[in-house]
Amino acid sequence: MKKIFNLLFYGLKFLLLIAAFGLTLFIFIRMNVRLEKSMVSIMPEMIPFVVLLILFIVNMIFRQKGVTDNIFYNLTCCLVLSIIICVALRAMFDTNMVLNGKYGYGVDFNFFDNFVSYIKIMLYGLSIANILFMFREKDKDLVAKSSKRTKKA
């Protein structure tokens, strides 16, 4: 049961990361088009998404079980990315927010803007936790290898 859930969260976090990345990028582009700013200014905002994606890919390629088999980490990833998607969708479709339709941009930048700092905190936090869980796995591997050596000896 635990493995099934873990597999579900593990697969879901990739899909959610892509969706969260796409929606956030869309809102940032709309915001920059409105302000007639250079698209280069969007890049620093998207770095945490890219870092996390790279770490996920590294986890997948090197089969780092400390991360991939960690149901708590995978669940937290899904939750965090779902929140980002939820916020982005509310910024676009929650018509009860009066500034959503007032200026005719179709996105409530005022609302989304309040979340940008939280998004960065959560994504960088997940990246740091991911790196730390990788070390843990290495340590376990070393312990397992050393115990095998002692048994052979």
Partner: protein, 229 residues
Amino acid sequence: MKKILLEYANIFAYTLTGLLFGLAFFLLFINFYHMQELATVVDVKAYNETNKAEVLNKVGIIKNNINVYDQLSYNGSLNIYGLNTVQLKLQDCIDIIESNDMMKYLDLDEIGIQDSYNFTIDFKNKILNDCLVMQIKSMFNTDTVATLPNFNVIKPYIDLDLDNLIGSTSYVQNNIENSDHYYFSTDTNRTNFFDLVDDSYVDVMNNYQSALDLLVEISNWYRNVVVGG
């Protein structure tokens, strides 16, 4: 030593993940609450019926007051240009009040945050700007109206009332616009302090009634001027 450090790293990773888990849940709940609060619908049927009756009553008083003057039959000594100006300006205000754009709010049975906001904006644009500023305030700055009796008595009230109405309405408008920002509210807060939908609507409706009271006062002054002169 290395093992201890790695154990600490593991503990730190779990702690960090736990904190992020908590933060994510906090944001989830706060979003849900915010969404729910903005989707609030308030029943204002009885309240609007009372206010509509009051509005129609006040409009009736203003109409009666300004109809005491007829340029063709007027034999008084006062400046007819001044009297004509006041009558026309008050008539313009009545046309605005009786327009569908304003009356539609008095026919609503239920209101949401958008209705409160639209009512605030329409009241500000049509009643405060188009009527009170463009018609009434400008009228009291004309030389012909300044020659009418008791002009100096009524003019300060208009300036003072108008400033209060603009300030109060702007507060409600800013408050609703700021509700898009992320904030935490509670039921206690909503009950005891300020319900965004209901209190905003009531606040603007009170301003609307105050604006009408001001127009009634001006029309009473006008009636006294015409009858007295």
